[in-house]
Amino acid sequence: MMDTPKKNTIIEGIRAQFPILTQKVNGRNLIYFDNAATSQKPKSVIDRISSYYEKENANIHRGVHTLSQEATTSYEQARQKISSYLNARSESEIIFTKGTTDGINLIASSFGELLNPGDEVLISAMEHHSNIVPWQLLETRKKIKLKVIPIHKSGEIDLKEFENLLNKKTKLVSITHISNSLGIINPIDEIIHKSHKVGAKVLIDGAQSIQHEKIDLQELDCDFFVFSGHKVYGPTGIGVLYGKSELLNIMPPYQGGGDMIEKVSFEKTTFNVLPFKFEAGTPNIVGGIALGTAFDFIESLNFEECQVHELELLRYAEEQLRSISGIQIFGNSKNKTSVISFNVGNIHPFDIGTLLDKQGIAVRTGHHCTQPIMDFYQIPGTIRVSFSIYNTKSEIDLFMAALNKSIQILS
C-alpha cells in the first residue's frame, strides 16, 4: 500500500489545521494515537471559541440586547447545523448535553420514569461504563431488569443471543454503535429493526461512531442517539442527545431551572417546548457554537476519502502488529473502525504505554472504561491505538519502531 502524493497533500493540509500536532513530547514530535479518548481540535474550532469570548459573549434566549440576540442566533444555528448534518427531522429533537454520559443518564432517568418494575433494558457486554452504570442505578431505583447481550470470542455481538433475549418486556435496547476498546462496528441497523419489532425503543451510543461514520438519523430510525463533542473535533463539556420528539414529549423533564420552563409559580409550573424542556440553566453556549464549527470542519472534508484513509491506517497497522511475536489483538471483525487493542505476550500494557510515551507516542492503556470486556478476556487491560484523519503511515512506522524497542527492553 503506497501513499499517493495527492493524498499526502490532502493529509498534510488537514494536519496543518491542528496546532497541537507540532508539539514536542519528551523531546520528540508528538504522535497522537489516543483519538478514541478525545480528538484534537482544528484551529477553526479554537478560534471560534476565542472570538466568541472576545467579541460576542452574552447570555442567551432571554436578552433583548444585541449581543444576547446574536449569541442566541449563533447557538441556535449550531443546533440547526448539527440537526441537518445528522438528518434529524427537526432541530427541536437535538438537545445539547454535557456529553455522551450526560445524555445516557438523561434518558435513563427521564425515559426510565416511564418504565415499570419488571420491564427489561438490554445492553451488550461491550458497553462503555457510561452505558452500564446508569442502567444499574435505574435497576435499583425502578426495579427494572438489566439484561446483557453476550459477545463472541472475536468481540462481535452474539446476535442469536440478542434475539433470544428480546421479548415483549424489552422496553429499551441501549447499545454502542462502535466499541471504544475493540473498534468493532455493531450491526445497529439490524438491531434497531429487530428491537422495533417487539416494540422496544433503541438508544445508540454514538460516542465512537460520530467521528468515523456518516450518521443519518432518519435512515437509522433509532429512537435516541447520543455523542460527545470532544470526540468529534469539538470542545469538552458539550454533547448531543437526539431523541424522537414523540418520546421526548412524553418524557418528564430531567433537570429543572431557567430556560426549561414556560411559566413558574409556586402553585403550578409548566414546561417549555422541545428542545428547551431538556436544557435547564444557562447552557454551554460556547460549547454548542464551537461544536457547530466542528461540524463545519467535517463538512469541509471529503468524508469518504477520510474513511478510506483511516481504514488504510487500520489495515497497515494491523499488518505490522501481526508480525510481532506473541501479539494478541482483541476485536476481530470485518466491520472495524481505526481502533486496535492488543497485548504482547505477558507484558503488562501499562509498561508498554509508559515506554511509548517516553518516545513521544500517546496511546491508551488499561480497561478503557469497559471492565466487563477485560473480565471476559481475563486480562488486566490492553494497549489501544486509535487513529484519526490527521494520522499517517509514517507515524505508524515510528510507532512500530518504538513498540519494538519497548518490547525488547521489557522482555
Binding site: H61, R62, G63, V64, S68, Q69, T72, T73, E262, K263
Partner: protein
C-alpha cells in the same frame, strides 16, 4: 397595492431614516395611533405569551380575504404588529400563506422575529400564516 408593493412602500418609508432611534420613533408612533384589538375582546386563547411582551391575535376570513386584529402590551411590539397588519389585511389567504414576507428583515427588524422568545412576534406571524392556510 399588492403584497409586494405594500412591503416595498414600508421599506421606503423607513429608508428615510438613517438613525435607529428615528426608525423606532416611527414604529412607536404607529403603535400608539392604531387601536388594534378592543381590550375587552382579548381572550386567553388569543394570547401568545412571549418571554417578555405578550401578543393577542384574532383572525377573520371575509369575502375571500383575511383580516387580523392584534395587540401587545409593549408599544414597540404593537408598532411592528401594526405594520404586519397593514401588509396582510385584505389579502387572499393564499397570498399570505405563500408569498414572501420580507419587509421586516429589510428594515432591520428581524431581531424581533428571532427565536429569543423575548416577544411573541415570531409565534404570531406563524399563527397569522396558519390561520390563512386554514382558509385556502
Amino acid at each position: 397595492m399588492n403584497y409586494t408593493e405594500k412591503q416595498n412602500s414600508i421599506i421606503e418609508d423607513f429608508s428615510m431614516f438613517d438613525d435607529w432611534m428615528e426608525k423606532y420613533e416611527l414604529i412607536i408612533d404607529l403603535g400608539k395611533e392604531i387601536e388594534l384589538i378592543p381590550t375587552e375582546d382579548k381572550q386567553d386563547d388569543q394570547l401568545i405569551e412571549g418571554c417578555q411582551s405578550r401578543v393577542w391575535l384574532k383572525s377573520n376570513y371575509k369575502n375571500g380575504k383575511m383580516f387580523y386584529y392584534a395587540d401587545s402590551d409593549a408599544i414597540i411590539t404593537k408598532g411592528i404588529i401594526s405594520l404586519l397588519i397593514k401588509v396582510m389585511n385584505g389579502e387572499k389567504p393564499k397570498t399570505i400563506a405563500q408569498e414572501e414576507l420580507f419587509f421586516i428583515k429589510k428594515i432591520g427588524l428581524q431581531e424581533h422575529l428571532s427565536p429569543t422568545r423575548a416577544n411573541g412576534l415570531l409565534e404570531m406571524v406563524k399563527r397569522m400564516k396558519l390561520d390563512a392556510i386554514k382558509n385556502i
